[in-house]
Symmetry: C2
Subunit: 350 residues, 2 copies
């Protein structure tokens, strides 16, 4: 049996197991949505009521992004975490809305920073209303989020979410500084995605532990689950940017490449490539001098070195850590769904 046949057989068995995983994964989202559907109605209501302002452009612009079909994964994690630990109250509903407001504010500012035209397949707010309005409405949502937290009145929650917001901003600045920098190490990249993405996942889960008052161990475990899930999520996102599947999700392929963002698929390809390949990356990503066919060439190099596959392996590693973080909690429906959500986050790539 030669290498090619062996590859084909492995691939067939991979496809079987992937299809199985895919089913678990997509039904995991459905399952989580129905697990928290009552509370999520409350979250959506809070979002709609509290993004209101007499300045009509604010609800108009914010509503455009909020209504554009995100899964609301982060607030869903707050609600599911509360179920996991048996919280019976309703305080976490308002706080889940805070998490979504912070997320929406960062998306608005991200799109300005990245000069993006499309998000979730629709025109970005900055394309429609301009950068100026996007910056200011982001500021509004961010402030409004803190107003909501103050209404809840937990200084511990305020500490977690204000700390998370600072770290997110640090992560975004760090990402800006690694843009075009092909010497970025895997660890530096991990620091960026831990800060810009994972910290909000962690906070979303942790605050459920705080309002439920189940003690520090529970809070820490929830934070660890969110943190590791968030890292896996961003790793997969960065793989998707080089995946044909992205196109079917209404997103442009190669945005990161065009913006010179140095993500793990490129970091690994750069290190594994010879002088010729490195010269290619230096020109296209380092100097951002790109011409027709460069994206295809980039994807060919990435494929040659299997760096998206290896990035997904890293994602699985963090997924496993997320799963183990949850292991201290009793088996229940929420536990199973939160385990399966890890699969979903990773299997999005296929």
């Amino acid at each position: 049996m030669n290498q090619r046949t062996l590859g084909a057989i492995t691939m067939t068995s991979d496809i079987v197991s992937i299809n199985k995983a895919k089913k678990t994964a997509s039904s995991a989202v459905d399952a989580m949505q129905s697990l928290v559907s009552t509370e999520m109605k409350g979250v959506n209501e809070t979002i709609l009521t509290r993004m209101h302002s007499p300045v009509v452009l604010i609800p108009q612009l914010a509503g455009h992004l909020i209504a554009s079909g995100g899964k609301r994964l982060r607030p869903m994690l707050t609600l599911a975490s509360a179920k996991l630990i048996g919280f019976e109250g309703t305080r976490h509903i308002k706080l889940a809305a805070c998490v979504e407001f912070i997320h929406t504010a960062t998306l608005l500012h991200d799109d300005v920073v990245d000069e993006s035209d499309l998000r979730r397949g629709v025109e970005t707010a900055n394309t429609i209303w301009g950068n100026q309005a996007s910056v200011l409405v982001g500021d509004f949502l961010f402030s409004r989020s803190f107003e909501l937290m103050v209404e809840d009145g937990s200084l511990k929650v305020l500490k977690i979410l204000s700390g998370a917001s600072s770290v997110i901003a640090e992560g975004e600045v760090l990402q800006l500084m690694t843009t075009n920098d092909l010497t970025t190490t895997e660890d530096a990249y991990l620091e960026v995605i831990s800060a810009k993405t994972a910290v909000l996942f962690a906070a979303a889960c942790e605050i459920a532990g705080v309002v439920a008052e189940k003690g520090e161990d529970a809070e820490k475990a929830l934070a660890a689950y969110g943190q590791n899930l968030g890292i896996a999520f961003q790793l997969v996102d960065d793989v998707l940017d080089y995946s044909a599947k992205q196109a079917t999700m209404g997103k442009a392929v190669g945005d990161d490449f065009r913006e010179g963002k140095v993500t793990l698929p490129i970091i690994l390809a750069y290190r594994r490539g010879g002088t010729e390949e490195q010269a290619f990356w230096d020109r296209t990503v380092g100097e951002l001098e790109q011409k027709d066919g460069d994206l295809e060439q980039a994807m060919a190099y990435i494929s040659k070195h299997g760096t998206t596959q290896d990035t997904l392996e890293r994602a699985r590693h963090y997924g496993q850590k997320a799963k183990d973080a949850l292991a201290i909690f009793p088996d229940n429906e929420a536990h199973e769904i939160m385990d399966n959500i890890i699969e979903f986050v990773i299997e999005r790539a296929y």
Copy 2:
């Protein structure tokens, strides 16, 4: 005695009284600075320590603006208000730094929104480091400000400052919507400046009342002082944009005009001008089609209708309200200085 002579005499007597007022005014700033110098050292220390981040671009960029010679009027008002009501503690020092962080964050975002090149006579952060970094470092300072407030632990202070932040963002969006709109009414303009500027002055003063626990009347009086002082401050700022004096302060004259910002000197000139003048404003400010000599023409129309003088009259009205708001407090050094600061804010125009 003809009109011209009468004008000259009035002007001479004006100059005498203005020179007197100017002296009181500039010594008022000195007096306030020395009144709160010990506490201000603490504020500056807090600012330097807490704008720190391992992401070096953050303290670099934030430090550029923070060190660029602002008077720190807002934190100074927190400190002076505390003296006024006899607060003996130190909690307000950290909170004064929060106020300055919020102010700095809004300046960073303002400069991006206005595409400004100069602030306080030096290059803006967005000119040096780009819009992206300015947006993100603004977000960082804003988050850091909330972290500091959480450390202080007063939910009432958090409510005041998170509420103020939302209103500031609303005011900025409202300003964006009135840009180029010459039908903006004086009341709509007042709403903009009350929100974008005065609310932070009000909050800066009010929080001193909260930490001093002197009761709601004291808090309300301090908030009213700050609110009215802030409106006067912005009215004078808007006059200065059409004043030759601006140039001597290292600021460009006519920025508002070039950006099509509809401020009171223009609102009044537009209403008072005939068809020809209105056509001029429609083209230059409404359509933003400007050519050489337009700024000079604009200033000539403004001068013809005396609209900067009338804007300053409005400022005096709010200054008087600020003074009366303070009248419930006993006479002391801080009281006198806070009264004189009102003069300073207005006499900057001369």
